[in-house]
């Protein structure tokens, strides 16, 4: 999804559409997409790995997971609760990332676009 030359089918674009496709080539847009991908894909992979690690620990280190910490509460249950906490934490990080990094770039692109600089 990177270049206009690979575009098939309708070869003619309205001026407005041509503008959009040109905008796609702009460094700001490439930067936005790169930042988004570079953050989201590794974080999603890491989060999934953490969930699967928990299951693997339960399977292969049952002694560790079953170690009592406080009364009936063992390491496994605490790690289970941490699953909720980590889900919330990752989402909070994403919200911060989107607010601080993605939104300013988006706004910049929109302003330039509306002023006709793109």
């Amino acid at each position: 999804m990177s270049s206009t030359s690979s575009e098939r089918g309708r070869a003619t674009y309205t001026p407005q559409e041509a503008k959009y496709l040109a905008a796609q080539e702009a460094p700001e847009f490439q930067e936005l997409r790169r930042r988004y991908r570079r953050w989201v894909l590794p974080v999603t992979a890491a989060a999934l790995a953490w969930y699967f690690l928990y299951v693997a620990l339960a399977a292969y280190a049952p002694g560790f997971m079953g170690r009592p910490v406080l009364g009936n509460i063992n390491v496994g249950l605490i790690a289970g609760l941490l699953q909720f906490v980590s889900t919330f934490g990752i989402t909070a990080l994403y919200v911060r990332f989107a607010d601080r990094t993605l939104d300013p770039i988006s706004t910049g692109i929109r302003e330039k676009f509306e002023e006709g600089d793109l």
Binding site: M1, E7, A23, N72, G76, G80, F84, T91, S106, R110
Partner: protein, 592 residues
């Protein structure tokens, strides 16, 4: 006041409140777009509460506690997956999908791949998932009413189906938003307040051990009334009283007729219903111990994690909610709030499941562990407090049935009206579709529940994960996807899932790997579906839609450039939809 008055009063109150707020919302609902997405005028906290209210179904309110009671620590993956599915949806799918202007998966299929047949195939899949999710809600209602008032199971199912259908057909999504926000807080209160009393009672009883080496026992002489005939397995011989006659139960399977009463002596081990194995407390708290007789717990857990993480994005009533935010920033705030609200709620069912093993172990004998949440207060607390708290729990349970069913009905009927019924893209068409969906769900729900509620809901997630997840993820992130490839993936993924669901629900396969693979199919159906979609698309490369670059740009460019994707303008129904989308999108600002 006898034992059934309070629960009935609670149900009546919740139904009246639901209908009342629905009528209030009806006065506000005017046009078709009001009906479907509540005009995007809802604040993040309202919206997050509504999402929580809609999402926390019978499976969450009743089912998880029942599964925890029967199967122990592994059942906790259900709530973890139900929550984590949201963040996968937010990170991978929500923002581009919102920008595409598609608010159902069929919309997305048309916008991205420009194919009407594919659109209809998606609509069919969405209706199937919606129905599969609706059925356990209705069955849960029947079960809750039977557990608290002794009414036949059909009564609760019919009641919820009728109330929800009438309410949805009358008010649409606008009223649903208010109803559901109210119902989240009702559900949280209804589960949290009794939990405090139950913990105090447990404390007062000297904190009996949950994780000891023994299996569940009757703490005191216990009289068990059997609502429906039950087959169970006795491990150690026990002297009981059956309908007034002394009887010695030897080890092995036994059957008790419907309507009988058995009295077990204090200290007796609890015989378990056929198919559920007794677990010691030690095994019960240990993850992956296979407590309760789960076959291949490691596979089962991985498959469940996949199904819930990837299935959430394909649930029809979840996606549409992202459009009730005025802009992307609010949508992100809403998601964060949703995770907090869901996390707070999901701490409670596990507690009920654990205390259930101490105070209501007879449910392991009757197999009605889904009723543990409702049975606990009366069993564990003495005096008038128990029945009062039970009434509160019944009201919460009915809030769960009503809210989830409403959300499912709104979206399922919306898809049905727009894509599968002829000439019905009007408010009237929507009402007809709501009636059809409600009736279909009721017909499917009336035969007795074959599986725990949460497991049926888990199957709906598995179907969604094997069909819509590959379509959405590939459609958004891979420009090579073609309509024939997507259709092949949907057919294979959906077909395999449907076969697994049917075989599981009918109990045709039991024991060993076949049962484990069919009961949690996501681990093999999701990769298969992805592979077929990719392979099919590579084989039909020439069908990559023209203008895919423009569509992908619209999906990934910042909102607010006024981009509209290509397929929209070429389809015969585009004009009507486009004007609606334009109205909806006018509130946009930042990206998700």
């Amino acid at each position: 006041m006898n034992g059934t008055t309070l629960p009935l009063l609670a149900v009546t109150l919740v139904v009246c409140a639901t209908v009342g707020i629905g009528v209030y919302g009806l006065r506000l609902a005017r046009t078709t777009s009001d009906f479907l997405v509540a005009s995007r005028t809802v604040s993040p906290l309202w919206n997050a509460s509504a999402i929580g209210g809609e999402y926390l179904s019978a499976a969450s309110f009743l089912g998880i506690a029942g599964l925890v009671m029967a199967y122990g620590a592994d059942a906790l993956w259900f709530p973890v997956g139900f929550v984590a599915g949201y963040f996968v949806l937010l990170l991978l799918v929500a923002a581009p999908l919102r920008r595409s202007g598609a608010y159902t998966v069929p919309d997305f299929a048309e916008v991205r791949l420009g194919s009407q047949p594919l659109r209809r195939l998606c609509a069919l899949t969405a209706v199937a998932i919606g129905l599969l999710y609706l059925v356990p809600q209705l069955q849960g209602a029947g079960l809750a009413l039977r557990a608290t008032t002794g009414a036949p199971v059909q009564v609760g199912a019919v009641l919820v189906a009728v109330v929800v259908t009438v309410n949805v057909a009358g008010g649409g999504m606008r009223s649903a938003t208010f109803v559901q926000a109210f119902q989240y807080w009702l559900k949280l209160t209804a589960l949290a307040v009794p939990a405090v009393f139950l913990l105090l009672a447990w404390q007062g009883d000297g904190r009996p051990a949950l994780a000891g080496p023994a299996g569940p026992q009757f703490a005191a002489t216990t009289s068990v009334r059997v609502d429906s005939g039950v087959r169970f397995v006795v491990q150690t011989p026990v002297q009981v009283v059956l309908d007034g006659q002394p009887l010695r139960l030897d080890p092995g399977p036994h059957h008790i007729e419907r309507g009988s009463t058995v009295v077990f002596p204090a200290g007796a081990a609890v015989p378990h219903v056929d198919g559920l194995e007794a677990a010691t407390g030690t095994a019960w708290v240990r993850p992956l111990s296979g407590a309760g007789g789960v076959e291949h717990p490691l596979y089962t857990t991985y498959a469940l994690v996949l199904a819930t993480f990837l299935g959430t994005m394909g649930l029809p009533h979840v996606l549409v909610r992202f459009y009730t935010n005025p802009d992307g920033r609010a949508a992100r705030r809403t998601t964060l709030l949703v995770l907090a609200l869901l996390g707070a709620f999901y701490l409670l069912p596990a507690l009920y499941g654990a205390l259930g093993r101490l105070y209501t172990p007879e449910l392991l004998l009757t197999g009605q562990t889904d009723a543990v949440v409702l049975a606990l207060p009366v069993a564990a607390l003495s005096g008038p407090v128990g029945p009062l708290l039970q009434a509160l729990l019944v009201s919460g349970a009915f809030a769960a049935f009503l809210s989830t069913s409403s959300g499912l009905l709104v979206t399922t009927a919306g898809v049905l009206a727009q894509d599968l019924l002829p000439a019905a893209r009007t408010v009237r068409g929507f009402r007809v579709a709501a009636g059809v969906t409600g009736a279909l769900a009721l017909i499917l729900a009336l035969p007795a529940a074959a599986l725990p509620l949460t497991q049926v809901v888990g199957l709906a997630f598995a179907v969604a994960a094997a069909t819509f997840c590959p379509l959405l993820v590939l459609g958004i992130w891979w420009r090579g996807l073609t309509a024939p490839g997507a259709a092949a993936g949907l057919l294979v993924g959906g077909g395999l899932s449907a076969a697994a669901v049917t075989l599981t629900l009918t109990g045709a396969v039991s024991g060993g790997w076949p049962q484990a693979l069919l009961a949690q199919p996501a681990a093999w159906t999701v990769p298969t579906s992805f592979a077929v979609m990719v392979g099919g698309s590579l084989l039909t490369r020439r069908s990559v839609p023209p203008g895919v670059g423009r569509t992908m740009l619209a999906l990934h460019a910042p909102e607010g450039l006024g981009l509209r994707s290509g397929a929209d303008r070429s389809s015969p129904t585009a004009t009507a939809r486009r004007s609606r989308r334009a109205a909806r999108r006018s509130g946009r600002a930042a990206d998700l």
